[in-house]
Amino acid sequence: MKAKLTLRDFSLLLSLLAIGGFFALAAPQFLSARNLSMLAVELAITATLALGMLLVILPGHIDLSVGSGVGLMGGIASVLIINHGWPAGAALAASGVVALVLWLAMGALIVRQRIPAFIITLGGLLIFKGAFWLVIGSHTIPVVAGGQSNLYSLLTTFYLPPAASGVLVAVVFVGIVALNLRARRRRAALGFAVDEAEVAFLKLFLCAQGLLLFVLTVNQFRGIPLPVVILGGVALVIQVITRHTPFGRHLYAIGGNEEAAFVSGVPVPRTVIAAFTLLGGIVAVTGFMQTAYAGASTTTVGDSMELDAIAACVIGGTSLRGGRGTVLGVLFGALIMASLLNGMTLLAVAPELKFIVRGVVLTLAVWMDVKLAKR
């Protein structure tokens, strides 16, 4: 038996190539090592947040507060370091704990009080935004005192040296190949559908080419940016959670049919609360990276990032009704969003127009989601 490739598998890759091709032609510096390194950092930030969002969209919820949360968590860490002289590590940890508690509380409110996630997190969006401005006193608080560096600032300024980058990519690729072969053997042994050998090889070959191209390019600049490594770690963890744990299966089951999941013995409340709590942790990590990338907590850090995260999920094939979505899809979706933003910035597109383009892309993606879901 053979596995079929769906239209969706291609549509993402094709849109990505189209977007990349367009910007490569319109703004030649798009493909420069320096810009692609920047793009990698931007992608890492967007994608990390989107992967967290996936956790709550799978069981059919949503989180509008993550953008404000990104600002707030970064802000808390900045203020602890600059105004209170905390060591960076302690500040990040403290802020991370705050995020976990806040999202646990939102999850509990949504599940136990049966208030729609849309409302609770809309409240969160406003409250966190206000809290953020209170915390930073509506000033600009840098992540580190001038001219120095700390753990916080290194989040986006540290690059894995080229040699280490090469080794890391090689290890990752070997790991992917090994896991692929093992999964293939197992599936074949159980009589499940597997890709034809040629298709499987082609996929791995493309993957190898992509990785090689990536590492050669970033090595021309400074090596692999730390956020990409963080994204890799987050993606691996989310992939394992969603695909290989009971908790992950339960997320899909709740999104697919909550009543059936409940009667099947899925601990629905606990599962949803756990998903929101995990998202809280990811919001903190994203907040630190985004603030470090900006260099300081300013009132606009995190603005409308919730929309990019949701858009990345939807573009990547995640159903807003819940029950459908994959890590790989979300990574592609985030890459499309990040490329769009990065390319438009290079072309010096006016901010007004940037908003409009993002809106159009999001709308198109949801429209596509509805169309494809009907099939």
Binding site: V240, H244, Y252, A253, V263, V266
Partner: protein
């Protein structure tokens, strides 16, 4: 007397089933005509036909109104002809006032604006006609179910209805409200309005109806004048069929008591009235306890409550295997060795978009772990085993469950339940909507379960199935136990009498 509304040899087919077969029925002006029959006898289908919900052309035979052929293409057509249906679930907008509800969709106007004076005036008259002494601007949500029903009838009268169809009108009414309703109907009859009265409750039927038509298996069995018949005769006509040996129930060898329920009462919500009252029973290892009753008697609620998926406990004790069962949730029930196969497999049984394998192992994932992760090899083997032993007809375990036939979907739900390695299995209408072949496979599975020492509680609306597959039978009536029978004692007449809350002497 000429017929006001008449159905002449009506046949109505749905894909796979013939719901009505050559059914004839006539309603005279100024009579109350009761329609009786078991669940699935065809009453609802007939009502839907008479009220235009199944439009002309979707059935064979003819409807006649005032001795002329009537071709209702929609509900509106039937309403214009003077036929109004009062449904079980009321069709009122709770936030609007009585008067607004009465004229919803046909508000009297003066120019472009609503003529509120006329609405209030006419609403008052209509409410007086149905004997409801409430201000017309009262929101419907403040009325009890009985009063809401009267508002529905007033609404029908406002549309100059000549035929009222009431479908189980007293299901949710208190005794006093039932009396008010029946008085109302007698009053309307005296003014020439005819009424079709669908009810399981023979006491009411005999109290109010002039004639009774019995449907069974989609056919008219008989029409009797109430004065010239007895409840026993009506019950016999409703049951009337042979219990065939379709049911290969093996001899039971009951073992120890696995599940005991003592004096259980439960309500749907914390403040609501108790819907299950003083229920006691026990189930032994290796036996099938049949649970019967009419629609709304509380069978599904009882199973769902014991399983932790419905309602609030008001009192009583439940033990499983000698240990108290505090099933506050399905998670706890499953951990205690109890599993439920719901009557509504699409809603409560399956994640339709996911694969067969995903669904089969869904209830057992925590037991299939190695460390924090799912042991996918073990999972696949467990899935494969059930997939084969249940003979699910599908290309592979990865086929989406939503694409399977009803019988195969049901097998997946059963497989999911089996994988939890339960001691007590609740089966709620396990053969509903599946074909005969799949039914027999389900019966074989029940035999296998009891042979393996499990206790089975089987809910069924079909008396033959209930009698054929159960070792003992419990009939529920109105949330209480209406009667308990051994296999030898159970006759269709006795079971039905118990389900209708009537004592043994009638049988």
């Amino acid at each position: 007397m000429p017929a006001l509304l008449e159905a002449r040899s009506i046949t109505k087919r749905f894909p796979g089933v013939t719901a009505l077969r050559e059914v004839s029925f006539d309603l005279r002006a100024g009579e109350i005509h009761a329609l009786c029959g078991e669940n699935g006898a065809g009453k609802s289908t007939l009502i839907k036909l008479l009220s235009g919900l199944h439009p002309h052309g979707t059935y064979e035979g003819e409807l006649r109104l005032d001795d002329r052929v009537a071709e209702f293409r929609s509900i509106t057509d039937a309403q214009r002809a003077g036929i109004a249906v009062i449904y079980q679930e009321l069709a009122l907008v709770p936030e609007l006032s009585i008067a607004e509800n009465l004229f919803l969709g046909c508000e009297p106007r003066r120019g472009a604006l609503i003529d509120w004076d006329q609405i209030w005036r006419e609403a008052r008259t209509l409410l007086a006609r149905v004997g409801l002494d409430v201000a017309p601007d009262t929101p419907v949500s403040e009325l009890g179910v009985g009063s809401q029903q009267l508002v529905e009838i007033a609404k029908a009268l406002s549309k100059h209805a000549r035929v009222l169809i009431l479908d189980e009108p007293t299901a949710a009414l208190a005794e006093r409200e039932v009396e008010t309703l029946l008085d109302m109907l007698r009053e309307l009859r005296s003014r020439g309005i005819a009424c079709i009265y669908v009810s399981h409750k023979l006491d009411e039927v005999f109290a109010v109806a002039d004639r009774i038509t019995v449907l069974r298996d989609g056919a008219t069995i008989t029409t009797l004048a109430t004065a010239a018949t007895t409840k026993t005769a009506v019950i016999r006509a409703m049951v009337g069929r042979e219990i065939t040996e379709l049911f290969p129930r093996h001899a039971a060898h009951p073992g120890e008591v696995l599940l005991t329920v003592e004096d259980l009462s439960a309500a749907a919500t914390r403040g609501g009235p108790a819907q299950l009252r003083n229920i006691s029973f026990e189930v032994r290892a290796g036996e099938v306890l049949g649970l019967g009753g009419l629609m709304g008697a509380g069978r599904t609620e009882l199973l769902m409550h014991l399983f932790g998926a419905w309602g609030v406990r008001r009192g009583g004790r439940v033990t499983l295997g000698g240990r108290p069962l505090q099933a506050a949730s399905p998670v706890a029930a499953l951990a205690a060795g109890l599993v439920l196969v719901s009557e509504d497999r699409k809603r409560y049984g399956l994640v339709l978009g996911e694969s067969i394998g995903f669904n089969l192992s869904l209830s057992s994932l925590t037991r299939l772990r190695r460390g924090a992760l799912i042991d996918e090899e073990r999972e696949a083997h467990a899935n494969q085993g059930l997939f084969q032993s249940l003979a699910v007809k599908a290309p592979s375990l990865e086929t989406a469950v939503g694409t399977l036939s009803g019988g195969n979907q049901q097998k997946v739900v059963l497989g999911k339940a089996l994988m939890t390695q339960p001691r007590v299995v609740f089966l709620d209408e396990p053969t509903r909507g599946i074909d005969v072949g799949a039914k027999v496979e389900v019966y074989a599975l029940v035999n296998a379960l009891t042979a393996a020492g499990k206790a089975v509680v089987l809910v069924s609306s079909e008396l033959p199935e209930l009698m054929g597959m159960s070792d003992r039978i419990l009939m529920l009536h109105d949330g209480r136990i209406g009667g308990a029978f051994t296999k030898a004692e159970a006759t269709p007449e006795r079971l039905l009498a118990a389900a209708m809350g009537r004592t043994q002497s009638a049988a």
